[in-house]
């Protein structure tokens, strides 16, 4: 199944694209999605994704279109899901 991850800010610079389409096996979880992103760009392990747990480091967060901010890596991903990977270090 395919899902999409939009990228903003420094993540867009790091991955040199504004959007990534990922093919994941049926029943995949958010953790699998993060792992697939890391496989595509290992630089994410430097400050964005915890290498041991694959949890996102502060202040990075995943936003799921239509559902809100999600952090449960066990959550199942559905075909066509759309995510936004962003830094929520706002203010200024």
């Amino acid at each position: 199944m395919e899902c999409t991850v939009e990228l903003f800010g420094t993540l867009r610079q790091l991955m040199k694209t504004s959007e990534v389409k990922l093919k994941l096996p049926p029943g995949a979880s958010l953790k699998d999605l993060v792992a697939a992103l890391v496989e595509r760009e290992a630089g994410l392990l430097e400050g964005v994704v915890d290498p041991k747990t694959l949890a996102l480091s502060v202040p990075y967060r995943l936003y799921q279109e239509g559902r809100g901010f999600v952090d449960d890596l066990g959550r199942k991903v559905e075909r066509g899901d759309r995510f936004v990977l962003m830094s929520v270090a706002v203010g200024g």
């Binding site: 903003f8 800010g9 420094t10 610079q13 901010f69 936004v84 962003m86 270090a89 203010g91 200024g92």
Partner: protein
């Protein structure tokens, strides 16, 4: 005491006299400095009911226990006064070398009262305070004023805080600028300075600042400096706060065309990503700041070719999407003019956006605008209107009053789209798609503000439905406000907040290492609550009523028309429910007043005495001052 001098310089411009007042250790440890100490001095020095632009209204500059030490990002000061925009407490922070100079001159605070018989500037040379003629500085922007004063002094170490032509003309949201590019921007402190005929305050501060435990402080600060270079601050360092544009746009939280929309079709073209790629010239920092969030952009071609200007998210949003402007050079030019005239970019953008909607709906016509096409998206109109506000020319004179007063004067239903809370124009977060922030804007003690009530952080958290209002948001907003009050009183830049593992434990240790004053995590946390109760006490004394804790009609009547949060709107019942929960979380009465028992619980018995002379709300509402 270490770090603190325990001294407050009081300058009376009417009598051209100065005196020193002692600040006790008890007072300093109760309010720390910055916004806390400044508000405490305001409550004491401001006669109840004083007009914000009258000589009676004191202008307070407050340093802190950490300013001038090696603590990263602590080179800051607060300016506190009764706001000419809101008639309530007005406080604003600025930073960099002037903040250090104030501390090194030997003062924890400076209170300026009265009104000079003619325009002057103050020259503070440690102990010696001169009042000098300033007629030759009138009409100059902050950079030019700074250069002129330094030239006169023959000393480049002199640091200058000044007002621009907007402050001279009492634009109600005029700011006080220092070190050329830093501003105490919000709530109109520059208009208060202008009302005193005080053009500038120049300081040559040469005293050393001693700390209680130099080795201990150095160790903790070394660690903090290292942490300030991690992912926790990466966005600020690499893209600067303009990196917020696309994130907020994606969430339908980017106020567009005076909050008629919450996403902007031109967002990519004004995004931090685009600015970094096409306009970035240099990255700079305030004094003692390792983060360096300030991004200087250069225009390469077109009518503004050669223009160099720093820009943060709030200025970008207000002069860009809020006015429907997608031209980066025009936004940079408008920001440059705001700096020259010394006027707050958020309120300036908010006022122009309000006028653009008036023009769109026919309430303002070309006759009113001297032929200017004040349509949303017209970059020339944006730039021209900033100048007219700064000069109080034509319709600019109306806009210089702020949206609350301008809409009350123009009428015709324009109050519906006068986007302010308590008179302060809202910053760049749409409250319909961030409902905890909606509460924060409504109850904000200096008016609607994301810095004093940073509840967007709640809305951007996993497990929180940002489109839903719940009673639990009351406590969450209170906690965010109290945390912000601690940061604003210590003072530590908010961009450092994620560099601490356990903020209250680490920051209280920093405070003790610098000042020698015992402070634990619980004590530091309580300071935040104390400061916010103090600000509320001042507001109550000056005529705050429950009706002031509210949002503009648009937020209840006009759903977000497109984007991720299509249809999102706030109901009056939702907001009332969250406000009730907030008052309860604060331990206030159902009508939002502070019980005496609460003041006593916070050790604020002395404030009860200062509350005497409370005004009748009817005398000062709705257009206070």
């Amino acid at each position: 005491m270490y770090s603190y001098s325990g001294k407050c310089l009081v300058v009376d411009l009417t009598t051209q006299s100065t005196r020193l007042e002692e600040l006790s250790e008890s007072l300093l440890s109760s309010y720390l400095g910055g916004v806390g100490l400044g508000t405490r001095l305001l409550l004491e020095k401001c006669p109840p009911g004083a007009g914000p632009l009258s000589p009676d209204n004191p202008l307070v500059f407050a340093s802190s226990g950490l300013a001038g030490t090696m603590v990263p990002t602590a080179s800051k000061h607060a300016v506190v006064t009764k706001s000419p925009l809101t008639g309530l407490v007005g406080d604003s922070l600025s930073s960099s070398h002037w903040s250090l100079a104030l501390k090194r001159a030997g003062y924890d605070a400076m209170v300026i009262t009265g009104m000079a018989p003619s325009w002057v500037y103050l020259f503070i040379d440690d102990d010696i305070v001169h009042s000098r003629k300033a007629e030759h500085l009138l009409g100059k922007g902050s950079s030019q004023t700074e250069e002129a004063i330094r030239r006169d002094a023959g000393d480049n170490r002199v640091r200058v805080a000044s007002i621009g032509p907007g402050g001279e003309r009492l634009v109600r949201y005029a700011c006080i600028s220092n070190d050329s590019s830093r501003q105490a921007g919000r709530t109109g402190t520059g208009a208060v300075m202008g009302s005193k005929r005080l053009k500038a305050i120049a300081i040559r501060g040469t005293r050393p600042i001693s700390v209680w435990d130099l080795d201990g402080l150095q160790k903790v600060c070394s660690d903090l400096y290292a942490r300030s270079q991690t992912s926790s601050t990466e966005k600020y360092r690499i893209l600067g706060t303009p990196g917020n544009v696309l994130v907020l746009n994606r969430l339908s939280a980017l106020p567009t065309r005076n909050f008629q929309q919450a996403s902007f079709e031109g967002a990519e073209g004004i995004s931090g990503e685009h600015l970094a790629e096409c306009y970035l010239a240099k990255v700079t920092a305030c004094a003692t700041c390792p983060i360096a969030c300030e991004h200087l952009y250069r225009v390469q071609e077109g009518p503004y070719a050669g223009l160099e200007m720093m820009l943060d998210y709030e200025s970008l949003f207000a002069l860009g999407p809020l006015c429907g402007i997608s031209s980066v050079p025009a936004v940079l030019k408008a920001a440059e003019l705001c700096d020259f005239y010394g006027i707050d970019t958020i309120s300036t953008g908010g006022c122009i956006a309000w006028a653009m909607e008036c023009f769109e709906k026919g309430l303002l016509t070309a006759n009113d605008t001297q032929g200017l096409d004040l349509s949303f998206g017209n970059p020339d109109a944006l730039v021209t209107m900033v100048e007219r506000i700064g000069k109080r020319e034509g319709v600019g004179d109306l806009l210089a009053e702020g949206t609350m007063r301008a809409s009350a004067q123009l009428k015709g239903g324009s109050e519906h789209w006068a986007i302010h809370s308590k008179g302060l124009e809202l910053p760049g977060y749409d409250p319909r798609s961030m409902k905890t922030q909606a509460l924060g804007f409504a109850v904000g003690l200096r008016g609607g503000c994301h810095n004093r009530s940073p509840s967007y952080e709640v809305d951007m958290s996993p497990g929180v439905d940002r489109l839903k209002a719940e009673p639990g948001r009351g406590l969450l907003n209170k906690e965010k406000e109290d945390f912000a009050a601690v940061l604003d009183s210590l003072i530590i830049c908010k961009f450092m907040r994620r560099c601490f593992d356990d903020f209250f434990a680490e920051a209280s240790r920093l405070y003790t290492l610098a000042t020698g004053i015992k402070m634990g995590p619980a004590g530091l946390k309580q300071v935040g609550e104390r400061v916010n109760n103090l600000k509320k006490a001042f507001n109550i004394r000056e005529g705050w009523t429950q009706a002031d804790d509210w949002l503009p009609p648009r937020m209840f009547k006009d759903p977000i028309p497109s984007g991720e949060a299509t249809g999102a709107v706030l109901s009056e019942g939702e907001l009332r429910m969250m406000i009730d929960a907030y008052y309860k979380a604060r331990g206030w009465t159902a009508s939002g007043l502070i019980p005496l028992s609460k003041l006593k619980e916070l050790g604020m018995d002395d404030v009860v005495e200062l509350m005497k002379g409370q005004r009748n709300g009817a005398q000062v509402h709705p257009l206070r001052g």
